[in-house]
Amino acid sequence: MSTASAAKRSMPRIALWSVLVPLFNVAVHSAIFVFLRDSALPPVLYAILAILWGVGGVYSIYWSFNWVIEQYSDVWKRRIQPFLFIGPAIGLLAWLLLIPTIRTFIMSFQDASSSKFVGFANYAAVFTNRLLLTALRNNLLWVVFGATACIILGLLIAVLADRSSFERLAKIIIFMPMAISFVAAGVIWKFIYYYQPGDEQIGLLNAIVVHFGGDPQAWTSMTQPWNNLFLIVILIWMQTGFAMVILSAALKGVPEDILEAARMDGAGEIRIFFRIIIPFISGTLLSVTTTVIVFTLKIFDVVMVMTGGQYDTEVVATQFYRQFFMYQNFGYGSTLAIVLLIAVIPVIVFNLRQIRKQGEI
């Protein structure tokens, strides 16, 4: 579309289009939405239509709005077009993340039904209520044991794999649980921890214990607070692969000649590891650690599926869910979410600094 032809377009026509196209979009998509929601189509047909609409709809919205903008004069086009491109992203982010954060923050100072302000009462409750304190304690356990084990094991496996003769296969095996959902992993591990009285055990862990003459245990319910560790093992199983892949890439970036030179000087492998390799990959190590910690702080599914938060295994996220959905206590729920947010603020700051260092902003 050339400059000349755009300039020729009359103002009223452009104005008309600017109103009609958005209206038309809203009308068509709401109509399809209502039709799909209320329809009794066969499931497979419904699925195909829904997918087509969902994917095609977004593209057609961009396309039609862009068409309108192309009618404007070049000056306005240049001003408005960037906002068409970022608009949906910024709008969604603002609606679904940014503004909710502020609203949740406000709600954390209100009572259960968000009808009146109660000051810091919710925060006081969170840090004194036994259940909520247990949740906080457990989250700490998850971060300390879970994240540490993921990083150390991930690094160990990355180092071992680098020197082994089946690196690719080993990495695939360790990494595979990343693709499995926590719910499926919950089933897998529930079966491993399964307990029934007597000598015949169908759960692997108890079978091993019985084989060596021990008594079978109900791992995830008794033995508090150690049962939390048995849940943390699941996280380690699932997340070590993540740490391993990234650390392994970083290890491969350590220049060979530095290692060679150190060996020439007679340094042992362990010394080389701690004096050269670790400092060299420290940046990556730090960012992997923060990622795993953020992830661990939000842990929800494992606990929900394995114990439902019973037997003192509650974490902040499950407590949040309970306060929000079962007790309808928006005050406590919001406060817990904000506590979680405060816990990740250092990570947000670290992230920003890291990216600023790369010169991207």
């Binding site: 679904l96 089933v187 492998e269 729920g333």
Partner: protein, 365 residues
């Protein structure tokens, strides 16, 4: 970056052994699930899945039927010797070296067992039929009686998960790519501020947003339908997708756009004809990520989609089964494996992109 391997051949065997042991430990849980999902329901409840391999165990050689009116509280006489009920429950050695154990206390039936080689390698597809078609099936209980039970129909949940996952992957990545292009190559006010916002939102925990968003969705009628969950997943996946696409698109050569612009291409055509095709590798890796995340998600579906059968996704369905039929291992294991099929296929098929996606996000710098 291929590098010369094996600097120390002497310790290589040790390295290989340790790594093999770790890999074995990592594999065992999944293997156990897979093996169990093919075993008959009664076998799963009676013996561990590892007994499908040959092993020594007591094998029933003979059975003794005691009189039906035998009093279990009194010492019980079997083959001229007396045992207590508790002993027979655990299994007790008879003088001839065999083990006596109840087969069924109520029926007063005793097994005479002797050690022998055994393989419980009895496999069936019934569990999968049970979870995929929801057909009723017969369950043989340990005491020999039969019980019919209804399976759990996962095929609808499977379909629903696809309906949720595909748009919830495509939509945010399309939106993120548009935004990334604008952030990287267009000039507009507040560009930096908005981009900093995206970065900050990268690590904001989801929970912070759930209550307000769920209230909004309720007001708009978006709770419990696919549009709502697409929007939710799109919003929550956007920061990572935008940042990821930005770091790729911003590194494309500048002259590319300039020459296209000279030729009269609009930003929209540059984006759809030039950027999107060029960015396919990075779109692939972030898509895999988003797809796996959506497919495996539980919390977001639990809150925005709810438990209605017509929209329920796999993760919810299985979590419910864990709650309501925690001992129905034959169904649970098969169901869990069905839910893993798609992610594992994606993982094994596209793991190169998957790994690149991981590295793109975190290793930089």
């Amino acid at each position: 970056m291929r590098r010369r391997k094996s600097r120390r051949t002497g310790s290589k065997t040790l390295v290989n052994t340790i790594l093999a042991v770790i890999c074995l430990i990592w594999l065992i849980p999944t293997v156990g699930l897979l093996v169990s999902s093919f075993r008959p329901a009664s076998d799963i409840l009676k013996t561990g899945w590892w007994t499908v391999a040959p092993h020594r165990e007591n094998v029933t050689k003979d059975k003794i039927q005691l009189p039906k009116d035998t009093d279990l509280r009194q010492p019980i006489e079997v083959q001229g010797k007396t045992y207590t009920d508790a002993e027979l429950r655990k299994g007790v050695k008879a003088p001839d070296g065999s083990t006596l154990v109840w087969e069924n206390r109520r029926a007063r039936l005793i097994d005479i067992q002797k050690p022998g080689w055994k393989m419980n390698a009895d496999f069936t597809l019934d569990n999968y039929k049970g979870v995929l078609t929801g057909k009723t099936y017969k369950l043989v209980q340990p005491d020999g009686s039969e019980r019919t039970e209804k399976g759990s129909n996962l095929s609808r949940a499977f379909l629903n998960t696809i309906v949720v996952s595909i748009p919830a992957t495509v939509i945010p990545i399309l939106i993120a790519s548009f935004a990334a292009y604008a952030f990287a190559w267009l000039k507009f006010p507040f560009r930096k501020t908005l981009f900093v916002m995206v970065i900050m939102l990268l690590v904001v925990p989801l929970q912070v947003a759930l209550i307000p968003v769920s209230n909004d969705f309720a007001a708009l009628g978006l709770n419990g339908n696919f549009l709502g969950i697409w929007i939710a997943h799109a919003g929550f996946g956007l920061p990572l997708a935008t940042y990821f696409m930005y770091s790729y698109i911003s590194q494309l050569p500048k002259d590319l756009f300039e020459s296209a612009y000279m030729d009269g291409a609009t930003n929209f055509t540059i984006f759809t004809r030039l950027i999107l095709p060029l960015a396919v590798p990075s779109i692939a890796s972030i898509s895999i990520f988003q797809f796996l995340w959506v497919w495996n998600d539980y919390l977001v579906s639990l809150i925005f989609l709810g438990g209605q059968e017509s929209v329920q996704v796999l993760s919810m369905r299985i979590a419910n089964m864990v709650g309501s039929r925690g001992d129905a291992w034959h169904l649970l294991t098969a169901a869990a494996f069905v839910s893993m099929l798609m992610p594992l296929a994606v993982f094994f098929g596209l793991q190169r992109y998957f790994v690149r996606g991981l590295l793109g996000g975190s290793v930089k710098g």
